[in-house]
Symmetry: C2
């Protein structure tokens, strides 16, 4: 059994944290999150990805930021040196902070003391983390302000560019790292730093400070969480002020309009998410946090409504959000072109931050459904299989093969290339890192009555209900590729508890086998088992893993007459690599029979439409005589895995062959 390792970092884990949990731990909620001591991934799909993060991605981010001087900004700020030139754009500090958060969650996981390699890796990470924390701490101004690109005599004054400066945004990410350090007990020093940051912000922007907001929301979620962690109501109050101030035109005019940073409409009055997707989603998450802590039901309902509307009309089938390249923004309702779908990786992460908060409040499986969809089909699409390159945007239709990027160069946004190692604005890799490091903390929850299994996979839960009832269970599943789910209890619960397992929306039905019982078909959104579980009891859920054609709402004009193929929770993609003609631009799919399952994807029957050659692509009906050629059976791959086999073209939506609809 893994046990918590007594290293210098872990040693500071002294139980002072009043409310443990993962990145989010609300004071009031239907469901209670688990912390790293309560839920642990075991070998399988998810653990492979978390291990890749621990072994490769965290270090990749650290090395890139060292190499191009982003971490040196901290040292130069600390040195008091004059006139040094800041490396990178204004808000590169935030990438360091997100990396720190990822390191803290990774360090907070119990380590198997009998595994020397794991112990060595943990000690190494703890050491790197502690050194990076010290460099951040050294860059803090005496009054608590911490940002390397503003405020020195040769730099722009502090808070002189709230529209674009990202100062509060960056400090927000630092605070989130501090919360992770606090919840995992991994760095008192970092907790001290972020407490001073938050106290500074209270002075600068609190009730007696400047009435302003940051152009990029983020500090709101951070302040609420620090308030929860340290039981400090001022931080929650400051977040509340930021949420309430927004939407009243406090920010200056910018090209994209006030909508871009959600300064157009007060949060509680808005009906849908709009503007810059990451900004909109971070803000909504922060607003919900504020609503929960202040008991503001109207504000919480506004966020629920915005989620509903955004999911109904502004979300890609992959869970991706944001249609526009220019401003990384949501489009209008049903403006969801797969061509150059922006679907920023960070927006997927932000969407899950919001859905997770809503799930904790409402226990509605729809939130877990969207988390599943977004995690599997947007967030996990970002890192390359080797963890050393990332997609910034996640298009649903690649018309020209991306080029192989230079592995030693900072990329713009990998728009014309395959996944790239690092970006000028490199928000996505570090956001992926902190997400992979903590994702299992959103997989299951507890309530006074029992345990809820939201995400399917292989992990162990060891928790204790409010009344002291122990729940120790092992979830095992071949998910997302297979539909088998086993939940085996390792201890006697001593009393009747409720085990709730989400039945994914795609499944519609499942076969439930209770301990000692016979398989029984269950419908609805949850498989519920109430009983006193004893050690060795196993609950089995079998989901009808199959591939299926998905048709879009007719108002999404851009994909009219096309279908996507889903396989269980995975959205599949047609990659030119798998098409005999090497092209995906002229194909059509026969929807007459369901797609056949392959090991990880599905197989469909394709044809190719050879368009009558024309010198102008718009004709009268009589002009064109297109020819159809069969292409045979072709394999589709999980969308998230595309572009791992060299340059290719790709499409998620496939035209339906003539005669089918």
């Amino acid at each position: 059994m893994p046990t918590s390792l007594d290293t210098s970092a872990a040693a500071s884990r002294d139980g002072r944290h009043a409310r443990p949990g993962g990145p989010v731990s609300p004071t009031r909620s239907r469901l209670t999150p688990l912390d790293a001591a309560e839920i642990r991934l075991v070998d399988g799909f998810w653990s492979e990805r978390q291990r890749l993060n621990a072994d490769v991605i965290l270090r990749h981010c650290e090395e890139w930021m060292e190499r191009i001087g982003w971490t040196s900004n901290l040292d130069r700020a600390a040195s008091g040196e004059e006139g040094w030139e800041h490396a990178g754009i204004e808000f590169v500090d935030s990438e360091i902070h997100k990396l720190l958060e990822g390191m803290a969650w990774e360090l907070g996981r119990p380590v198997d003391a009998d595994d020397p390699a794991a112990v060595a890796a943990h000690v190494d990470l703890a050491d790197r983390f502690a050194r990076l924390v010290s460099r951040v701490a050294a860059a803090q101004d005496p009054d608590g302000y911490l940002h390397t690109s503003f405020g020195r005599p040769w730099q722009r004054p502090r808070y002189s560019d709230l529209e674009w400066g990202h100062e509060l945004y960056s400090m927000g990410h630092l605070i989130q790292a501090g919360v992770a350090a606090h919840r995992t007990g991994t760095s008192d020093e970092l907790v001290g730093v972020v407490t001073r940051v938050a106290d500074h912000l209270w002075e600068a922007f609190g009730p007696d400070g400047r009435v302003a907001v940051c152009g990029h929301p983020e500090v709101e979620v951070a302040l609420v969480e620090l308030g929860r962690a340290l039981e400090e109501p001022r931080y929650v109050e400051l977040a509340r002020l930021f949420v309430e101030r927004r939407g009243h035109g406090l920010l200056g005019q910018i090209e994209y309009g006030a909508e871009y940073f959600q300064d157009d409409v007060p949060v509680r009055d808005a009906d849908v998410l709009r503007g810059h997707a990451v900004r909109a989603l971070y803000l909504a998450a922060g607003a919900l946090d504020v609503a929960v802590e202040t008991g503001d039901a109207e504000l919480a309902d506004a966020v629920r409504r915005q989620w509903e509307e955004t999911v109904r009309a502004r979300t890609y089938v992959t869970g991706g959000m944001g249609s526009h390249h220019q401003d990384e923004a949501f489009g209008a309702d049903f403006e969801l072109p797969p061509d150059r779908a922006y679907a920023e990786t960070c927006a997927g992460i932000a969407s899950n931050m919001l859905s997770w908060r809503l799930l904790l409040q409402d226990d509605d499986p729809r939130y877990a459904d969207l988390i599943e969809r977004t995690l599997l089909n947007t967030v996990l699409a970002s890192p390359r299989e080797d963890g050393r390159a990332f997609f910034y945007t996640n298009t649903l239709h690649q018309r020209t093969p991306g080029t192989a990027p230079d592995e030693d160069e900072v990329n713009a946004r990998a728009l014309a290339s395959l996944r790239a190692p690092w970006f000028e604005v490199s928000c996505c890799p570090t956001n992926v890192a902190r997400t992979l490091a903590s994702m299992e903390l959103t997989f299951a929850t507890r309530s006074p009555d029992g345990v809820q299994i939201h995400q399917l996979g292989s992990y162990d839960v060891d928790t204790v209900l409010e009344d002291g009832t122990p729940v120790a269970l092992s979830v095992r599943s071949g998910y997302p590729y297979a539909g088998d789910v086993s939940v085996a209890f390792r201890e006697d619960t001593g009393r009747e508890v409720e085990l709730a397992v989400r039945i994914p929306a795609w499944a519609r039905t499942a076969t439930l086998t209770e301990p000692g019982g016979s398989p029984l078909e269950v419908r609805g959104r949850r498989a519920l088992v109430h009983r006193r579980f004893r050690a060795g009891d196993e609950v089995r859920l079998d989901l009808p893993m199959a591939a299926r054609f998905v048709i879009p709402d007719p108002r999404i004009d851009a994909v009219r007459g096309q279908v996507a193929v889903e396989r269980g929770p995975l959205v599949l993609a047609l990659e030119s690599t798998d098409v005999p003609s090497g092209q995906v631009g002229d194909v059509a799919v026969d929807t007459g029979s369901a797609p056949a399952l392959t090991e990880r994807g599905a197989r469909v029957r394709l044809s190719r439409t050879v368009a009558d050659v024309a010198d102008w692509p718009y004709g009268h009906g009589v002009d064109r005589v297109d020819r159809v050629e069969p292409l045979g059976e072709v394999d589709l791959v999980p969308y998230a895995s595309w572009a791992n086999r060299g340059p290719s073209t790709m499409r998620v939506w496939i035209p339906v062959a003539a005669g089918r609809s």
Copy 2:
């Protein structure tokens, strides 16, 4: 009859210009352009728009640039004052230059000396023009360099930012204004200024100068044309150098890649236009000019090939070019989403600059077809009916009604508003101004054999063929709304000449009536009449004006299952203003019978698809039961006229009602 007015400006029209014509006058070409003394619009569709330009748009541009300090930059540069702050972005000089060009073409038009109002307007414009020319002249550096945002001690050094500085681009526009002044004989001062500019550029970038190019092509067309006008081979040679240097990575790396400014592939090797649309089109036009003047058939063929490919796969049905907002760029082949189609007004103008040059070389009606389409459906879509506001981009699908812009504020790009009065980058209004002022110069040409009528409308031609044969004819047409075309000869041609009238591609067939003959159906791309025309002879061409459904190439995925409606040369649009439900997001059109003509548009039968309410827009086939409600007959309007009746939503592509395809 109008006669050339002897004003102070027009007085300098001394016939010294070796090769008259409009903006383009190649040394070698199949067709010879006419100048303002040879072709004149008369009352009708085109003259109304040209008059709006003369009466409103030119002054609107002038007043805005005066008001926000763009013209003052010139005065401050001239004053020698130190440290003044430049108003507007780097290249606002170019807007002044384009305005000058528009003024020059407008001034160059003969004025009816018997019309006191016309004379007064002409004198007023001549005065404004002369004063603006003097202000530009005063800002010129002694060595000929002329740019207000580089080169002074407190500014960045000259040519220190070729990627984005737009210095040669701006001077290119100034040179084009100088060519207009030269061809119309309206300002020796301006001709002198641009000669010094061109001589400076020869020194700076010629054979003994710096081997570099400007990030924004434009100077190439300008230099060739000045070389033609002044018979100065050095200018053509410098343009040739700029064209040849491009595509070899001389420009620095930028976020959008070298493709953005066509520095990725040498012009003669490229197969299609790509990157920033205006840049690509200006460059192609300049390359063709160079090819013509140097007899470089390979280069000319490269440009032809690029035009073909771009028209085949990268052009909107409106003639608009450029699919991307972020970089104002062409997309991949068939990446033509109507949602946020960029289709910049300036790209439409640039496309016509290229097509016009190709038409002069090849006499292929396809070039005139595209000019017609682009002029009527993109360029003319930009100005508001009152000439005081403009579209910068020309989307084919507006999902949310634009707001009414502040008529006193500089707008970003009118992305969220109706047409706006002025822009931060205000390239489009001045480009529209210079285009409307000179557009009739592309309507007809002459050759040794006769006269070619390319664009249909109402205008008079008075020209003389190479051998002295006079051709005086009056074209009259209700075009673009009606299909009647009359060509009446006013003088005896004395010998057999050829009259060629383009039969637009949309017509496919026409009825030709020769003088004294019977109506005869003609096919092909031209109606040709060979005869000795006598005064009073009339040739009639009747085009089958009708509305029709147009279906897109199946590779344009974004409009699959949809049709556009064209009426003669006009692309029509469905505007919510005309739909009983006030919505265009849920409509479908019955394609069972052809659209009926209305006065300027067409009428179709619409239905409305009421989508089964869903909380997630992607379903299995069995889920959705959509309901169809008839909406009755609904009028479509010319696309170019949309958004002149207040905020509305709009679509060019309309889904085909179920059961039709």
